[in-house]
Amino acid sequence: MPGIDECLLDVMRLPGARGAAVVDWTSGLALGTIGESPNGDHEATAAETAEVARMAAEQPVFAQDRGPHDPAAPPVPAVEDVIVTTALGYHILRFVETAFDSSVFLHLWLDRSEGNLALSRIKLGEIAERLVLA
């Protein structure tokens, strides 16, 4: 059964992956973590990245490009992912779309010299879909 752990193991197979987490962006809760985290504390990292994800998801300017969406269904962020580049790494926050009301994203921390941002972004999107579609 593909679940949170299998999905995190898949994420860590990406070249340059240093750490990853499944995070709820409303509460800042880490639902699952793997590998390292930039400050050595996965729970604190989750709370901080959740705030970034929430800001992106709730900005009206990004919400404009929403595709077709059933108004009765739970709102889904129009934002697909948030990418932050630092001197030594890349961070990709990928929103996970679920059939029940949730606010979940995948966070991948990549080493900048070993990681491939474009490839990782596509793969992370596929993994986010697999997580909720068996």
Partner: protein, 266 residues
Amino acid sequence: MRPSATARPETPGQTVLSPMLQRLAAERATGALTRDHGILYLADGQVVHAESPATPGIDVLLTTGGALRGDGWWDAVAQAGAGQRVGRYLVDSGRIPGGALELCHLGALYDAAFFALAPTSAPARFRYGVRHWIGPVRPVPVDAVQRETLRRRELLDRIWPDARTDSAPLAPTAGPVDTPVPPRQRRVLDLVDGVRTATDIAQELGRSAFHILVDLRRLAAAGLVETIRPASSGTGRPAGRIDFPEVTADPDVALLRRLRDALEAL
């Protein structure tokens, strides 16, 4: 390398919300811990499920958004409830993907635990050997649940330091709404009608009640909602008495019935 639900080194003693829970974890107990505002189910000293009348159960969360049809849920309960493997059955029968069940169940567990661990003066009760019919999904260490519950209390207070929005009936403020409200908060605000509480709104939307608390505190901080004050004195209330709002001022009858049925089925 193994993924884990929590990766922080354990710091015993720092975040003990319930000494009884701590002791049960240490003795790797299995059973149900009933507190004033909810129930925590333990298996081998880990939290495997939690329920609270303050927040929608996993069945409401899964069926409201359309992830699962109501009859699909009841079929799973009928088929696998007695064997206490409803979660596994939902996944194995293809009704819900494993990852989606884990996400939803973990969310519901931490959510209900937040309410169940709310401060109370009522004594807690532990029944050894009791198992929940949902069955094992993704157990969580007691320490992680206690730590997260404390973090959530601090998060709410950072957003807006008035806890009355968590339990009192709420009303939209009279002022014109020109502040942009994000879509998820908008759906909450639309249900604020002077009668509903956070728990009512959570039930209606099929959303985690803690998420609703976060949104309501943000809306209160933005000046868009306010709590309805109870009718003024002169109604026979003793002078000087302070009423503390209860988390479960208005317990959901359907949920209580479901809890009773589940307990009887054990």
